[in-house]
């Protein structure tokens, strides 16, 4: 799957007009200079040859060289872990919050709480992350002054203090929690209609006990799938949120890569993101298979 995606990415960038040699050339470069750059970057070789080179380098952890002649791995070594940290924190928070909210509302089906949380969840998911970020900035920085508006980096390129993580993480968590709460709530509602859960309810067990011990285990596959699809949204959203908060992640690297039409660099980012998403999807599949007791 990942290989097909990478091939598609590579093809898309190559087939459309313009190339990195033009994009990174300075004003006043002659055509000969551009041609020299093109040769230096290996852009004058046939496409399949470059693609084969790049693909064979992948398993060894070599992502090729960027349009500016640096190793892509070096360019991504510092920022990518930062983005992963941000996305992981957001992922854990999302999972915890959406499970809590989903179970809390499922225990009171049809109540006011249930309806309010349901509407809030679908609304939260519809709002782009950067709009949520603005809201957080206004409330947490401007009105209350609790948090700094900008992430400062320490000497090692990582965020200086952990409080810097709060706002970017929250901006990612709010929409995704909305999405996953809806899924958890729906899965629990489906489970509530199954015979064994109805039996447990008729036995007079408390709603919370019914949900925790009887409904939730059956809902796990659907919830795992939902959370897995959130990974892509979290990583994508992280790129945007980072630019707003000046968080030292791949967002800033990507912004530069877009300006320079830097195929290898963007492909590298797509590979890293795709690999991370694949891993989570795989984990979700494993969980599903274990719960269903059959390998799917």
């Amino acid at each position: 799957m990942l290989a097909i995606l990478i091939a598609a990415v590579f093809a898309a960038v190559e087939l459309l007009p313009g190339d990195a040699a033009n994009a990174t050339s300075e004003r006043g470069d002659s055509a000969a200079d551009v041609a020299a750059r093109r040769h230096l970057l290996g852009l004058d070789r046939p496409l399949w040859e470059r693609f084969a080179d790049w693909m064979t380098g992948l398993p060894t952890g070599d992502l090729g060289t960027s349009a500016r002649g640096q190793k892509v791995t070096d360019l991504l070594a510092d920022p990518f872990p930062n983005t992963l940290l941000l996305a992981t924190v957001a992922f854990v928070l999302t999972a915890a919050l959406s499970l809590a909210l989903g179970c809390w509302t499922a225990a009171r089906p049809g109540s006011m709480t249930d309806r309010i949380v349901g509407h809030a969840a679908t609304s939260a998911f519809a709002i782009p992350e950067f709009v949520v970020s603005v809201g957080l900035l206004i409330v947490l920085s401007l009105w209350t002054g609790w948090l700094p508006a900008v992430t400062l980096t320490g000497a090692d390129g990582a965020p200086a203090t952990w409080t810097m993580l709060i706002m970017p993480a929250l901006a990612l968590v709010i929409p995704q929690t909305g999405w996953n709460t809806t899924i958890v709530r729906g899965a629990l509602a489906d489970q509530a209609a199954t015979p064994h859960v109805e039996a447990a309810q008729l036995d007079g067990l408390s709603p919370h006990r019914v949900i925790w011990r009887h409904a939730l285990p059956g809902a796990v596959p659907a919830v795992a799938t939902g959370l897995a699809t959130s990974t892509g949204m979290l990583l994508g959203g992280a790129v945007v949120v980072e630019t707003l908060f000046n968080y030292p992640g791949i967002g800033s690297v990507l912004a530069g890569a877009v300006a320079n039409r830097d195929t290898p660099l963007i492909a590298g980012v797509v590979v890293c993101a795709g690999a991370a998403i694949s891993l989570v999807l795989l984990a979700a599949d494993v969980i599903r298979a274990r719960v269903l007791g059959a390998s799917s």
């Binding site: 995606l5 898309a12 960038v13 459309l16 609304s123 950067f130 709009v131 892509g232 959203g237 945007v240």
Partner: protein, 282 residues
Amino acid sequence: MSVATTGRRPATADGRGRVLPRVTPAILLVLLALTGPYLAAHPLDKPVTAPFAPPGDGAPLGGDQLGRDVLSRLLHGGTALIGSALLVAFVVTLLAALIGCFAVLHPVVGRAVERTADVFILLPPVLGIMLIALAWPGGGRWAVISAATVLGIPYAVRVVAGAAAPLATAGYVEAALARGESVTYTATRELLPNLRGTVLALFGLRFVEAVYVISMAGFLQIGPQPPAADWALMIRENAPGILLNPWAVVAPSLTIALLAISVNLAATSLAPRSARKAVTTP
């Protein structure tokens, strides 16, 4: 849910009276954004105040980073965003409805659709947009529109195919195929009319998704370029002055949020109960 094999499903009696109040805000907001440019007091690119001036005389929402009137730019900034989002939602829904119906009747197409959707799940939409917009310099808004369309189709096809699958085994579809009707006829005349609710809800939710993706691209400065007025771009440009004139950032944020929420509400209220679970945005 099993569909009775009696043919056409009756329209869901989902309280038609409750739909109207839920659809109205979205329609009003879209109309306001489309007529906004005619209501603006100041031209787009003429500084009328000091940079990041607080709200005052002549500029109810203050000035932006160049001292241009925030309210006028706000009224101008929604047209292109909503227009592009409508276009994307329309094209995606149309193609997805057709491909989805064929995928159900044609196992080969169905498998191809599943595979493509699987691959696309690995690509966050933001990265996809970046790739397409970047590989097409000078594409501007059209690059973003085509990127959003291409990236939206696989998932939408899945939704339609999921809703059409139970219908494909219904008696009337099998009867049509047995009569010797072509796959095209069966898909467009027998399947599609029974997916009205799903397709309508899908259109609404694709619109929300398109607003999300296009505004995201605008924020990343792909697509609309300064000095164009665009809500997402306004947020990006004026973020540095959020302490001086918060309205320059808050107003466009509010409009995007309101647009997304109201259209989302309208779409979910239009969906028939049976389709409500199937139609969810990724």
